[in-house]
């Protein structure tokens, strides 16, 4: 494993499986009455959030705390950053405080790359601009494997599974990371979006591309719906929310086109009634709540592996 987790591209199949398998071991902790392991005691994890994302921040916070790390939450609002401090100076401050890992969320693509050049600790990308969100992809892969391959599986990829990802691919960091990671793990990924929300050179990505959700659904073991921001409408990416929902929204009728065992995923937060209908989000096919729980587990695995914590009781070899 690299010292940092910045892009899903940096993960080999073995790296990815190691993280998923470690998460599988750690998953058992979540079922215990006392959910805490001593492995990262005395280590400091900084959550550096330049962008509001309560769900991702608390997921990382819970993960670090369950491993007994000290957690410092640093949010840009009301901090020196809001007064114009540069990312570099913030990085040097954290460095001086002895951060062993910095979890960074930033609106600028590539901010974690820059940060990694300025701090000694590990950098974990918790979403950078319209680039990547690798731990989201890892938790999605973990969720898919658990649902479709069964709990407790290790050493298994996602070979042969057909995953359809639908929504704003152009601005979607979740889509980028998932294409890279899921294809590394052997899945066949298809992206579905209106052409305006697809990157121009998407043909070079390790996936197929379609503009027609209906034709992809019967061929999908997994369908992942991505949030579509309403403000894209004003920039003429699509004519109206109504038309977007009609062509690319997953409603009950569309869900019925899926194979029997297929699952529906969403990284949240959802726009109910836009890209996903309430009855789909709340259906038994939906993994949305599991994804949240798995997020904590997978982030525990990432922090554990990056910080080289003491050996896990359950993974003694």
């Amino acid at each position: 494993m690299n010292r940092h987790l910045i892009s899903a591209e940096d993960l080999s199949r073995d790296d990815a499986l190691l993280i998923l398998d470690t998460a599988e071991e750690l998953a058992s902790v979540a079922d215990r009455p006392i959910k805490k392991l001593p492995t990262l005691r005395g280590r400091t994890v900084v959550n550096l959030f330049f962008e509001d994302s309560t769900r991702t921040r608390i997921s990382f916070e819970a993960a670090a705390k369950r491993l007994s790390a000290d957690v410092i939450n640093f949010s840009a609002k009301g901090s020196s950053v809001a007064k114009g401090e540069s990312l570099k100076d913030t990085a040097l401050t954290l460095e001086a405080m002895g951060a062993d890992a910095v979890v960074i969320r930033h609106s600028a693509s590539g901010a974690p790359h820059r940060l990694a050049g300025w701090v000694r600790g590990s950098v974990v990308n918790a979403g950078d601009g319209t680039h990547e969100h690798p731990t989201q992809a890892l938790l999605d892969a973990f969720t898919i494997r658990r649902r479709l391959r069964g709990h407790g599986q290790t050493q298994q990829g996602l070979d042969g599974l057909r995953v359809t990802i639908a929504g704003d691919v152009l601005h979607g960091r979740v889509a980028r990371s998932n294409v890279l990671l899921l294809s590394t793990l052997g899945a066949q990924v298809t992206l579905v979006a209106p052409p305006t929300l697809m990157p121009l050179a998407v043909g070079s990505w390790p996936c197929s591309v379609s503009y027609d959700l209906d034709s992809e659904l019967p061929k999908s073991d997994v369908v992942m719906m991505l949030r579509v921001q309403r403000e894209r409408m004003s920039a003429a990416y699509f004519p109206s929310v109504r038309e977007y929902r009609r062509r690319y929204g997953l409603d009950a009728a569309r869900m019925a086109r899926l194979p029997d065992d297929a699952i529906v995923m969403h990284p949240g937060p959802m726009n109910r009634g836009v890209e996903i209908a309430a009855e789909v989000a709340d259906s038994p096919r939906s993994t949305i709540v599991e994804q949240v729980a798995n997020g904590v587990t997978v982030r525990m695995a990432v922090l554990y592996l990056l910080l080289g914590g003491a050996e896990l009781p359950a993974v003694a070899q």
């Binding site: 990312l87 600028a108 693509s109 901010a111 820059r114 950078d128 319209t130 680039h131 050179a201």
Partner: protein, 434 residues
């Protein structure tokens, strides 16, 4: 810096046999073999193996003064220019305040006179405060002591087609030229990197080639329509080359420049998000680089222009999207052209003289620069050692800024000396006055 006479011994004027060049009172007095130093009362500069080029002329330099003296001043920028072999630079108008009045262009012109490293020819803004709406007083700048002939809103595009038409027409009265920064603003809102495989992969908003090409095409048509001179700044795409080639084939009054960085670097360098590679127009693909080289070789593109854009450290030590656009280029331009054009066999040294001195001087309406090295010509010349072993680039410290994308890159050649009107500004690769 006394008015010494010089004999430049054994240099090769590009395209000719090695010989001696005698310089006196700012003028080339004699060219031939074995000139007599005593007769000329001259100091001898041994220049065996060196190429003599007419002093380089840059059509596109950001000297930052007035306003951003933390990034560059006229003095430090022209010092860097001299080290790069330049004897004249065109100072772009996007200073603070903008060079949109006779007062500001005269100030810049006077600062250039005072610095003395290279002639500074101010470029005037096309519109007031680069606002794109109201023509600046182009005539006043033309009539000023700065004698402005090139007008540009560089950094911004004159996007309004009617305003562009008027500007082109208006400057006909004093043989002016409009230098366009071709960038459709709507097609590049939030743009960060060439739109293509890299922008998609890195999640950086795309700057599509068509945003340049659309303006290039429109402005070529406008220039033809009103019969006035258009110059296209920093051409960066294969498509623009095709359009310019077409416009020239029709005999339209269009000229174009390319930067050294667009001749050598591609958007793949953005992979680590280091903003030293962030420049406008953005680095493009290797297919574009190849086409730009061919176009410079065949003359479709007239000139190499640096777009030297100094920035303080903090403007680049930041996230990509936050970082300032631009890179320095004066000190490395000739070496880059050597690497991209001469080493590849696309251009000989006479061609380099043409594209880096003769034609830019003609486009900039400079009569005292870019003249062939002949007796009677102003002694503006550059001595270049093409055989100097490739050495990694490191900023000399002459420029106030260090944002060179070539740092650490091995480039061939070395600028040995630069003469401005017979006076060396650079000898043995160093400024003659610190």
């Amino acid at each position: 810096m006394s008015a010494t006479n010089w004999i430049i011994r054994g240099a090769t004027i590009a395209g000719e046999k090695p010989g001696d060049i005698a310089v006196s009172d700012g003028v080339i007095t004699e060219i031939g073999p074995n000139l007599d130093a005593d007769k000329h009362k001259a100091q001898v500069l041994d220049s065996d193996g060196l190429i003599a080029l007419p002093g380089l002329v840059d059509l596109h330099t950001h000297l930052r003064e007035p306003g951003r003296e933390d990034a560059e001043t006229v003095e430090t920028g022209t010092a860097a220019a001299a080290l790069g072999g330049y004897t004249a630079v065109h100072a772009m108008a996007n200073t603070e305040p903008v060079a949109d009045t006779a007062g500001v262009v005269e100030q810049v012109w006077r600062l250039g006179k005072a610095a003395g490293y290279a002639d500074v020819q101010p470029v005037g803004a096309v519109t007031v405060d680069l606002n794109g709406h109201q023509l600046a007083e182009l005539g006043a700048m033309a009539d000023s002591a700065a004698h402005v002939r090139v007008f540009s809103d560089d950094g911004k595009c004159v996007a309004d087609p009617l305003l562009m038409r008027r500007a082109l027409e208006y400057v006909k009265a004093f043989d002016g030229v409009i230098a366009q920064h071709a960038q459709d603003p709507r097609l590049t809102e939030g743009a960060q990197l060439n739109e293509g495989e890299m922008s998609g992969r890195l999640g950086l908003a795309g700057w599509p080639a068509v945003a340049e090409e659309g303006i290039v095409a429109r402005d070529c048509l406008l220039a033809a329509h009103v019969g006035s001179a258009l110059h296209i700044c920093h051409v960066s795409t294969a498509g623009s080359v095709e359009i310019i080639r077409w416009a020239k084939s029709k005999g339209w009054p269009v000229t174009a420049e390319v930067t050294p960085h667009h001749l050598l670097l591609t958007d793949e360098l953005a992979v680590g998000y280091d903003p030293v590679f962030k420049v406008n127009p953005p680095l493009r693909t290797s297919a574009d680089v190849n086409e730009l080289r061919q176009a410079l070789a065949d003359g479709t593109i007239d000139a190499v222009a640096t777009d030297h854009a100094p920035h303080p450290v903090e403007a680049k030590e930041t996230e990509w999207a936050e970082a300032a656009w631009g890179m320095t280029g004066l000190e490395t331009a000739l070496r880059v052209v050597h690497q991209a054009m001469v080493s590849t066999g696309l251009l000989d040294w006479a061609g380099v003289a043409d594209r880096m001195s003769v034609r830019p001087a003609r486009i900039g309406r400079l009569t005292q620069h870019g003249t062939p090295l002949r007796p009677g010509a102003p002694a503006n010349l550059t001595l270049y050692d093409p055989a100097a072993p490739a050495e990694a680039v490191s900023p000399s410290g002459a420029s106030k800024s260090r944002n060179t994308p070539f740092a650490g890159m091995e480039l061939p050649g070395r600028v040995v000396a630069t003469f401005l009107r017979g006076t060396p500004t650079v000898l043995d690769g160093k400024l003659t006055r610190a």
